[in-house]
Assembly symmetry: D2
Homo-oligomer: 337 residues x 4
């Protein structure tokens, strides 16, 4: 943390700042240049609401020099993390394809989709049993019944499984049935849920919030890891901008940005971000090309009758075509699936 | 719901759409113009995932003609709602001033602030006992202990009280101690929490999400009201944009927009939105001038040592000066406080 | 300019940075703390592309400590500027109301609007003769003919006049007919036009770009002032965000922000920002309440037949009602109109 | 154009709308359903400011059913356009790589960069001679002298050339020296410049504005084509969002979106969008993978001493490594370079 004082700050103003810092048990490193005075803070800054210093007289700005997240920070963990999910792993030379319906609707529907995505190369089956919907009158999911179908689909196909959770109840149910839990975009800063996910023992897929900065996203991951659960995977799913031609704007450059800032694996969801099945294939290829660790793709046996997100779901045929097209891209980036 | 078909859509395409609608138990109103064919849907649309129709051949676009929120919609409830909170009311010619610290820190701190804001004209005491913080290492609040101090402050000053809640546990505690609960921006689409807030029986202040549209915000209110709790107050607290000169961008024009769309009262938070005490007074006056029903303002006895949000907190002196300056503005808009 | 080096930056890295700075004729102020090394740059930074330093080894970040705009900067010109426009002035205790049609359509139309806005209290007549339109097939303005009508309206009513300019040709024509020129949002970073406006000798109303930061806006003003023309007035007209309930999001908190950063007057356009006549009056009052120096409001004799921006135009009756309602707000903020 | 009337609109309101339309020489197609009345407009809508209809009584919303751009619209020109630039072509199975310095600095600098990018596979040399800079005190370019160096570089290397233009003067100079002109992001809605570019006879690279929607971008292209110049290439260069980890947010999903809406070629600029050389290679690969027609990449012999945009410039070594890595991606998407 560095405090930049205003040009011609008085000695009195400088003293007020240094005294405040020292009174909070920290040390000061003072640097008085001709044009500007800079005050560095040495020691454990967590004792101090350093943001408050902005209201001191003659303080021009406060510059943080360290990120607030530590466990998720690549600086302190240079090795890339691999996260084990059921009988597969995310990271380490894999391209993980998670596929399945937005919402689990019936046992038959899920089973038939599971077989199809398995055949086309997916290793993790996704399926929503608890659906956070904008309107209270939309289909909200089958809840525990949906989780049981996921377990059955795993038993039959051998796919690992992931489900979104929205509450402690949902986490407690998910622990019994699936291999990985997902925190959705709207809950990325539901800090209570993050802590409970951290305590669940299951690996966690953490989707980026609709308008979350990279810094906020990694702090959300920190909440999970701080509970003793290092198995966090990040998922870019589009951010909200002024553009309405796509549902959200897929921020693919966040993939290389995250590589420099964190050791956690990063996957990309081209279905939710674009909102249209037409754009899923090109964006999936782009995600592989910029070295994402995996993809989350919505697949449905009958998109026209899907209870949720039909417009962005791929048919079996389109999904199989896509995975076939992805294979040579994977070879180029030296990933296997 | 209107389906606009593409120019020169085939009869076959039109038939596929009308059949799909009728198969779902709804009626079709077909209008074939020279340039364009329009298909209206008549009946209870909740049976149908109408968004799916976009993937049908020759469908150009889908135009919703009704909002998905009903109970929060001014169309169906033309009369403005007044919400009773403890011994005061929000709406109906009042300008409600909620004031207090971002976080409850100690009993003495809260009591001294409560007395000061009461003396200056506030009618509701705010104070955070559960703090959703970006970093897990920041101060997270006193929890139930903080709620008890709120109760004591109410007993001594007669102020009504409001606290943010972040979980079912927090709601259950809040019901015992305070008059109103707040759902924060980061939980605006935590639908489980919204339902629990709806069931609590307490009036709810619903803050706008950081990047929530008006439509999403009113659907979030709908979740609460649909549980049988009509006592919802909306709070504009700034949205996230590219501008960094303020913490967020206060969207004041949402006040008259909400008047046309909903019957719920609307208050404005100039503290969180701007992030700086310097901008609180002008934006508070602007909010009154455009006819907001109230203000939520952070006040602290010693902002430099506040455990949360010191930079945007007003001192007692500044807060009293502001309420004095607000009185003649209130007269102009015919509101009392 | 401060260079913050990475934790444990090598002596070699530090030397490379200091050598680069000194080789460019500047001086270095080195501050080596226990945790972090900071390098201050002393001297005329314009000789150096300081942004390049970010690519040097072990450089963590670059922190500018001074704004790049000087002439528009309140630090160097603490006194608020008043800008004379024809026979009126913007700033200094006035509330300037600019009103008129979006586009000048006919002589009769303009004359009749001019009389009406004059009667209701406006002091400057606005009217577009050169219209920047999204589509090449929309009405593009009467050009010089429109400017002549503006001159006639001035002669008859005594109102001062303002017109938008979009090219050097338009500036050269405007100089002959009107009192003030306007640079529109889409041209805020048309630096050639800014320079030509600076050389025109006329006062300039500089609208904020659709997604311009405060810093970019003041740098655009700097382009005009650097040509020897200090008569610049800023106009907030809404920024682009994800919200679609209004055409743009009016950023009213920019008014107090600009007060701290610049000495230039600031006016607010509630017509273009909201895009609907319904929201003009509340936002006009809010703008006055937060101490804007003026308002720009679209008024039309027959909004239903306006060639541009009918939906946001006030009728004569609504405009007169608004100015009457604004008077007591002006008294509260001690401004006259 | 469709007018959706409010539920229970009166006959009088409906009549007022239909009369207005017919009075403007257009025909009405009326569709009265049980729940809603819809009014279609038949004929040449350019005679009518249809947006005005929103202010008529009982009008709920106006739904455009056709885009305002025609010449740039894929609906009317299904075949993809190929644009010839000097001795090369953009589109039609090529991956065009434009490379060079942000700003032309000296003859030697440009010549040495030209040789290097040619050797690595670029076919078009970029170099800025007119630089639109945020601050008036930054380097503004060598102007015509820079264009002459471009011509010399072309003569020696055989590369085609492109330069940004910012004024009519610049266009007139560019016509003499280079093969293609560029309209930068800040001038995307400088409609005068667009028209002049259309009249220049040279192919035009049109960069997307910092916060331009797809619709606005294609309307800007329409301005150029409407002057009789069909040789327009679009360039995605990042949009402005709340995220600050990159300079802008590269919107790669705009590539497949544009494929459905326009027949014009689309290239991607990973340098300006990310603002850091570290992210150029992954985003270049992603752009190729999602089928962009080309790339614009900044290359500099000595980024640390570049007069503009050093941080995002590739060294010769990094650029050559990148083009080598791109070749197999090109094979996958069946493009050659």
């Amino acid at each position: 943390m560095i405090i930049v004082m205003k040009h011609q700050a008085s000695d009195q103003s400088i003293h007020a700042v240094t005294k405040y810092i020292e009174d909070n048990g920290l040390q000061v490193h003072l640097s008085q240049g001709e044009e500007v005075t800079i005050i560095g803070i040495v020691g454990d800054k967590s004792r101090l609401s350093t943001e408050n210093l902005i209201i001191f007289k003659d303080v021009d700005r406060i510059v943080p020099v360290t990120e607030s997240y530590k466990l998720a920070n690549r600086k302190f963990h240079p090795e890339a993390t691999t996260v084990k999910v059921g009988n597969t792993s995310i990271g380490a030379g894999n391209l993980t394809i998670m596929a399945g319906p937005c919402a689990v609707e019936t046992e038959e529907q899920l089973m038939c989709i599971a077989r199809a995505v398995k055949a086309a190369g997916a290793t993790i089956l996704r399926g929503g049993a608890y659906k956070p919907r904008t309107s209270p009158y939309s289909f909200q999911g089958l809840e525990e019944e949906g989780l049981r179908y996921m377990q059955e689909a795993k038993a039959e196909t051998g796919l690992s499984t992931i489900c979104e959770v929205v509450s402690l109840d949902a986490i407690e149910a998910a622990v019994k049935y699936v291999d990985m839990i997902q925190i959705g975009a709207r809950n990325m800063q539901n800090f209570i849920l993050l802590k409970e996910a951290g305590q669940s023992g299951l690996p966690v897929l953490l989707k980026r919030g609709l308008c979350a900065t990279v810094d906020e996203w990694l702090n959300a991951a920190e909440y999970i890891i701080a509970e003793g659960n290092p198995n966090v995977v990040l998922c870019e799913r589009g951010i909200r901008t002024f553009e309405t031609a796509t549902r959200n704007t897929l921020d693919l450059s966040v993939v290389p940005v995250l590589r420099t800032k964190t050791h956690l694996p990063v996957i990309v969801d081209p279905s939710h971000s674009t909102g249209s099945y037409r754009y899923v294939a090109p964006m999936a290829k782009a995600a592989v090309a910029c070295d994402a660790d995996g993809l989350m793709i919505e697949v449905h046996n009958d998109p026209a009758h899907a209870l949720s997100d039909g417009p962005q779901s791929l048919t079996f045929e389109k999904f199989e075509k896509l995975t076939n097209e992805l294979r040579p891209f994977c070879q180029l980036v030296k990933r296997s699936f």
